[in-house]
């Protein structure tokens, strides 16, 4: 089959690029290491033991990732420890370990969007000038205005619902679906935050409030991270992949892990090779687009020693700061019902919004997102005790849990990078991607601000005793990762140009989260990854 472009990875960026290129008339092949997931049969939300299960793991659906230096835990920072009312402190160690999920990701058609919550954010327009305005990290080699039309296309195609406060970030929003109703706990948090002088609004969500493209509207089961069985969540498999396949120009090979990038005679990539369902394969391509994510894309480039004239491949790794505080609020009911992350506050999102810190953060209603959705979570995390009184109390308090989360920015640091693991190799003989990520004093100060703000919001809401706190100080957990193939205008300090094209190899492009020069102040990244992918695709055919 004659192919115009090969894309490695069917996640957020790869799917959006494939859709756009197919619409431009190109024949595209996606090589995807993971399997397909069937929303109707693979997600466990109709089983009565649903609470014991998470997002399903299938053969090949997790990547080869290990951890190097994640930093030390200074007892002086113990106010940032994770704990809950049942088990107490979660980590007793002198070093920061990875959590059970660590770098949270899915390999499969849809990539990590299969498991994502579906927040659909635009970057703060000011976030593109981190170095110029704040003397830290790097600037983006493009502006918000360059991405704005692509954001709009993505939101309209996926079906994003919301009613954000109008401003530079959302000058027009007529293409959005009506906002989702706020859950009971989100209303309480919004009111409490407002009394504290914060601006709260309905979150922009890639979850349908009205049917679209044969996808139904959300029925508010609250379990987006377990996989949405209805398909109303805008994961890449039911949106861009489905639309690209409908053009007849997209082919997807699942279970196909690319391990080698093969150069041609003219300084261009000629082909890729790897292992598909246990058998070796090789595929020629005129254009190669990497979309393996900010951990696997640098791994592939480092393992092939390619596109690294700048020495920046794997460097500038940015994890995301995360903090959640939770408690029980007498009188609150039904807090397990509704859409996760339904309300958001951007008050502290600008890079200078938090005194003494470079980098922003945002706050989200997170009762459902943190999994306080069923009795198992209550009994094992936030309500201690046993015997008849405990069982009666479980019934009395169920539905009154309330949680608020902060999500914040990290600034690139030389101790945070993805490298090839010196010891471990996968079944195909490729070294694991080893994540090294250390929280700087700046990160700790921002995390501390997020924690104190979350506590204050819950207090203002009427919570008298906290029942659980989780943060990244004592456990590396990152759903949003960035920066390992930084985009920039200067080939000496960046890996790809402002359109995602390698500075070193003309027909090699990158369209995943690895190209972000900075992360923004806690914005969820998928919309930006996909806007960049569309921009790259348009440039490629121009």
């Amino acid at each position: 089959m004659a192919i115009d472009a090969v894309i490695i990875g069917a996640g957020a960026g790869g799917a959006a690029a494939a859709w756009r290129l197919c619409n431009h008339g190109l024949k595209v092949l996606i090589l995807e290491a993971g399997p397909r997931f069937d929303p109707a049969t693979d997600y466990p939300l109709t089983n009565t033991d649903w609470e014991r299960t998470g997002f399903p793991i299938k053969p090949g659906s997790t990547g080869a990732v290990s951890y190097g230096d994640l930093g030390a835990l200074d007892p002086a920072d113990a106010d940032l420890a994770s704990w809950n009312a049942v088990s107490g402190r979660q980590v007793n160690s002198t070093k920061r370990p990875p959590s059970a999920t660590g770098y949270a990701h899915v390999q499969g058609v849809g990539g990590s969007t299969l498991q994502y919550v579906g927040e659909a954010h635009r970057l703060n327009p000011a976030a593109f000038r981190l170095q110029s305005d704040h003397g830290a990290g790097a600037d983006w080699p493009l502006s918000f205005a360059d991405l704005e039309p692509h954001y709009r296309t993505i939101e309209a195609e996926i079906g994003v619902a919301g009613a954000p406060i109008a401003g530079a970030r959302w000058s027009a929003q007529d293409h959005l679906q009506p906002a989702h109703p706020l859950s009971t706990s989100a209303r309480v948090l919004r009111d409490a935050g407002t009394r504290m002088g914060m601006a709260w609004e309905t979150n922009t969500r890639a979850a349908l409030s009205e049917p679209k493209d044969n996808r139904p509207n959300c029925n508010y089961c609250g379990n987006c991270t377990r996989g949405c069985p209805l398909g109303d969540k805008g994961s890449a498999d039911v949106t861009f992949i489905r639309k690209a396949e409908a053009t007849g120009r997209l082919t997807i090979h699942t279970g196909a892990q690319v391990t080698r990038l093969i150069m041609g005679a003219n300084g261009r990539v000629r082909a890729v090779s790897g292992v598909r369902d246990g058998a070796p394969f090789e595929q020629d391509t005129p254009i190669l687009i990497l979309a393996g994510g900010a951990v696997q894309t640098p791994r592939l480039l480092l393992a092939n020693d390619m596109a690294n004239g700048s020495g920046q491949v794997g460097r500038n790794f940015m994890e995301t700061l995360a903090w959640t505080s939770a408690g029980l609020l007498p009188g609150l009911t039904n807090s397990h019902k509704g859409l996760p992350a339904d309300a958001v506050s951007w008050t502290y999102n600008a890079q200078d919004a938090v005194p003494g810190v470079v980098g922003g953060c945002r706050f989200t209603a997170s009762t459902q997102e943190t999994g306080l959705l069923g009795p198992m979570a209550y009994a094992s995390r936030i309500l201690d005790g046993y015997g008849p009184a405990f069982k009666a109390q479980m019934r009395n308090v169920f539905g009154s849990a309330i949680a608020v989360a902060g999500t914040g920015e990290t600034i690139p640091d030389e101790r945070s990078f993805v490298a090839l693991d010196p010891q471990r190799v996968d079944a195909a003989g490729v070294p694991f991607a080893q994540i090294n990520s250390v929280l700087t004093d700046n990160s700790l100060a921002l995390l501390r601000f997020m924690a104190s703000q979350c506590r204050a919001i819950l207090t203002e809401a009427g919570v008298t005793e906290l029942a659980e706190e989780n943060g990244v100080w004592d456990r590396f957990t990152s759903t949003h990762v960035f920066g390992t193939c930084r985009m920039g205008a200067d080939a000496a300090t960046s890996v790809v140009d402002p359109f995602g094209r390698s500075h070193d190899i003309d027909n090699l492009y990158i369209v995943d989260a690895s190209t972000f020069p900075s992360s923004g102040g806690g914005e969820a990244p998928v919309s930006t990854i996909q806007a960049l992918a569309l921009r790259m695709a348009d440039r490629l055919v121009a």
């Binding site: 939300l45 109709t46 089983n47 009565t48 649903w50 609470e51 014991r52 299960t53 998470g54 997002f55 793991i57 049942v86 088990s87 107490g88 979660q90 980590v91 007793n92 059970a100 999920t101 949270a104 109703p181 859950s183 009971t184 959300c218 029925n219 508010y220 089961c221 609250g222 379990n223 991270t225 069985p229 209805l230 995360a322 959640t324 009911t333 039904n334 397990h336 019902k337 509704g338 997102e369 943190t370 999994g371 959705l373 069923g374 009795p375 198992m376 009994a379 094992s380 046993y386 015997g387 008849p388 405990f390 069982k391 009666a392 479980m394 019934r395 169920f398 539905g399 989360a405 989780n470």
Partner: protein, 159 residues
Amino acid sequence: MLSISRRRVLMSALAASLSPPAFAQQIAATEGEIDAKTLAAYLDILLPADEHTPAASALGIEGDIIGFARQLTQFNQLLVLGTQWLNQTGQGPFHALSLSDQGRVVDWMRAADRNFIPGRFFLLVRLTGVEFYYSRPEAVAGFDLNPAPQPAGYPPPWQ
């Protein structure tokens, strides 16, 4: 933040909880079997029957825990040691003690130092017990919950 498989979370919590050297030593030399009857009686003190819901043993939760422990040697050893310890707390095995004596033992364990067998056994068996118990539809009678989040979901309005 995330919601991931509770099984994975539990496995890693148990492994972390049982791995510190001082504690690992206490359970390393353990031999014998878990006393299933004692474990069942112990779980019934934690999760007894009431007017809405059955006791843990009526749902076979001790069997679920024993099956789960087969995948994690150290947890299995803790259960062996813990049930042996329980059987030495009174005259005869724990499951043969009166309910009030059983209750007194569990009260003491709850307050015990968690770096030693009784306290750690209390914490981890409670944790696994409530996970298995509340995953059973019979245990959630009286809660405002669908049997599962789908297919009905929770359409608004919510008060």
